[in-house]
Point group: C2
Chain length 343, copies 2
C-alpha cells in the first residue's frame, strides 16, 4: 500500500510507492538504452487486443466494441503500479515527533491516447488532441467528485529522459489527498499579489509577457504561448488563457477547440525544431477547493529535457539555463511556420 511521508525539515511530502517498490539489489545501474530496448520487445499492455493486461477501463472513446474490448480511440485505466490507491484510507500515523505519514489514498490513472503504439503525441491531428483534452476534462470532473481528493494533476512524459517507462503514447492523471507544500507556496505568492492589487498574479504576468512581446511564440484569440522571463530550462513553454479561470476542466468549448490546435502546433514545432525532444507536459490547475478563487490561472507548461538538473540545482533550487528565452521564442515561432496543418 502506498504511503505518504512528510520530510520534517522541509514539510514536503514523498510517496513511498510500496506497490512499485523494487528490492534494494534491483537498483543496480544499467545502461539507459538497454532499459528502453528490452521494454520494446515485451507485450504492450496498452495495445488493442491486450486490454485484459490492464485493470478494468474507467472511460473510453470508442468507434465500436464494449468495455475492455478493442475499438477504442482513447482508453483510461487505473495505473497498475499506482502511486495512490482508492481503497486506502487517509489515516495519519505519527512515529514520534518527526516522522509523520498518511495512508496513500487517491487515484492514479493512465490515459492511453491512441490505439497506435507508434503514434507520437506531437504527430497527432487536431481532432486527436481535442479528444485527449476532452478526456482530460472528463477524468478531472469524475475524480473531483470524491470529497477526499484535494488536488488533481494531469501530466504527460515523452521519452526516456522525461521518465517514460512505456513507449505506447499515454498521459497520466493523479488525484491526491493533500495539497503539497510546493503548491501552497506558489499560492502564497499569488494570494499576496491579489491582496495588494485585486488582480490575479498569473493573469497579470500573461498580460505583461504579451506586452513585452519578445518572448511570445504565439498569440491567438484566447491563448498566449510564451517562453517565460525566468525560464528554468531551455525552451520551457507556457500556454495560458487570456480569460481568468483557475480550473482547466472549465474550459469553454471555443477555448478547448483553440487549445487543441495551439497545443498540436507547439508540440509539432518543438518536434521539428529540436528533433523530437523528450519533454514533460504539466497541466497546472487550482486545487479542487480553489477552482473559483480569483488568484490562480490554469496553464500548460512544456519542459523539454535537453539538459540535466545537477548538484547546483538540487542544492539551491536555482536552475542554470543555458538558453536565452528572448532567442528561443522567436526560433520556435519561426519553426511554427513550417508545421503542416493538423487536419
Amino acid at each position: 500500500m502506498p504511503e505518504l511521508r512528510q520530510d520534517p525539515t522541509t514539510k514536503e511530502w514523498v510517496v513511498i510507492a510500496v506497490e512499485r517498490a523494487k528490492r534494494p539489489d534491483q537498483f543496480r545501474q544499467q545502461p539507459q538504452d538497454e532499459a528502453v530496448s528490452t521494454q520494446k520487445e515485451r507485450l504492450c499492455p496498452f495495445c488493442p487486443g491486450n486490454e485484459l493486461l490492464t485493470p478494468e477501463e474507467v472511460f473510453a472513446l470508442r468507434d465500436s466494441g464494449g468495455k475492455d474490448q478493442p475499438g477504442w480511440r482513447v482508453r483510461v485505466v487505473p495505473n497498475k503500479f499506482a502511486a495512490f490507491a482508492p481503497e486506502e484510507s487517509t489515516q495519519r500515523h505519527d512515529y514520534g515527533r518527526f516522522f509523520h505519514s498518511l495512508d496513500g489514498f487517491g487515484f492514479h490513472e493512465v490515459i492511453i491516447e491512441s490505439p497506435d503504439h507508434e503514434l507520437s503525441l506531437p504527430l497527432m491531428s487536431d481532432q486527436q488532441i481535442l479528444e485527449l483534452l476532452h478526456t482530460y476534462c472528463h477524468r478531472y470532473d469524475a475524480l473531483r467528485k470524491n470529497s477526499r481528493v484535494k488536488l488533481i494533476l494531469l501530466f504527460r512524459n515523452h521519452g526516456a529522459r522525461a521518465g517514460t517507462s512505456l513507449a505506447h503514447p499515454h498521459s497520466q492523471v493523479v488525484a491526491a489527498p493533500i495539497i503539497p507544500f510546493h503548491i501552497r507556496q506558489k499560492y502564497d505568492v499569488a494570494i499576496r499579489h491579489y491582496d495588494d492589487t485585486g488582480h490575479c498574479l498569473y493573469c497579470d504576468v500573461v498580460e505583461a509577457e504579451k506586452t513585452a512581446a519578445r518572448r511570445v511564440v504565439l498569440d491567438t484569440e484566447r491563448l498566449l504561448v510564451f517562453h517565460p522571463f525566468a525560464s528554468q530550462v531551455p525552451f520551457e513553454t507556457w500556454i495560458a488563457p487570456k480569460r481568468h479561470n483557475p480550473c482547466f476542466a472549465r474550459l469553454s468549448f471555443e477555448e478547448k477547440l483553440e487549445l487543441a490546435m495551439v497545443l498540436r502546433k507547439i508540440l509539432r514545432g518543438l518536434y521539428e525544431a529540436l528533433s523530437n525532444p523528450d519533454f514533460n507536459l504539466i497541466i497546472h490547475t487550482a486545487p479542487v477547493e480553489d477552482e473559483e478563487k480569483p488568484y490562480f490561472l490554469w496553464h500548460i507548461e512544456i519542459r523539454p529535457r535537453l539538459t540535466t538538473a545537477a548538484g547546483f540545482e538540487l542544492g539551491t533550487g536555482i536552475y542554470i539555463n543555458t538558453a536565452i528565452p528572448e532567442e528561443t521564442a522567436p526560433f520556435l515561432k519561426s519553426a511554427l511556420a513550417q508545421v503542416p496543418t493538423g487536419v
Copy 2:
C-alpha cells in the same frame, strides 16, 4: 555576462548563463551516449600538462612544480563557463512590474580532484578524500571573505545522468550573491522549530534517526549516516555530524579525519552495491551570515540518479520513491562490510 532573473510567480531565481548559452538550434536532441563518447576523444583541460587550457589556478596542493604547472595533487581553477562572474556587479534591473534581474556577480570554481583522468571519486584513498575536504574548506574560507557573497555551495556531479559534462574527476564550488527562496523556506521551518523548542531542528532529526535506528547505515563517534524517513530518491544518503555546527568549513580536525574515512566508505559501498551509480553529492551549509546561528546543521546529501523525476514530481514537488528506506539502509550497511580499507 551571467544574469539572475526572478520568477514572478514563485520568487525563485534562475541563472541565464549567457556565457555558456548555446544558439537555439544547438539544442537539438542527440543520443545521450554520443554526447559522452565524443567528449572522451577531446583533449582534457583538467589533465596534467594541459594547465594552460584552464583559467589561472587559484589554489593547489602540490608535490612539485609552480603555479599552472604539473606536479599538483588537487588543483582549483575558475570555471571557464561560469554561472557567476567576479567582475560583475550586483546591480538590480527592473523591467516593469514583474521582470526583475540582477547582474550575475559571484564565483564559480572547479576543484580538480586528482591528476588521474580515470580515477573515480568512490575509488580514491582516505588520504585523497581528506585532501579534497581540506580543499573544500579552503575555498569556502577564501570565498566567504568577499562581503557580497551570501551563500556558498560545494557539490559534485558523478556520471552523465547526474549532469557531468567532463569525465575527469572534479567538484565545483559556487559563491552566490543571493540566498535563494528555496533555502529561505527550509530556514523558516528550522527557525520555527527553534522558536518552539530551543533546539536545532536538524540536530533533533539526526538524534531521532539514530534512535529509530532502522534507517541508520553507519554510526561513528562523530557522525551519523542514514537514509532519511522521507527520502525523495532510492538510496538518498545523509552524512551528518553529532555536534551542532551550521558551517561545513568549521569542521574540527578530528571530524574532518573521520568524515574522510566515512565518506570514502559510503561512496565505495554505493559503488559496489549499485554498480557505480551516477550521483550528485551536495554539501549543505548555512548562508555566510548564519554560520553561527543555532538552527542549522551542515550535512552531506548523496543522491544516486537511479530514477528520473517526471511530470508528477515537476508539477507537485512530491517525489515518488520506489525504494523503502528501511530496506535500502540495511542493504547498504551490509555492502559496507565488503569495502576494502582506504589506506
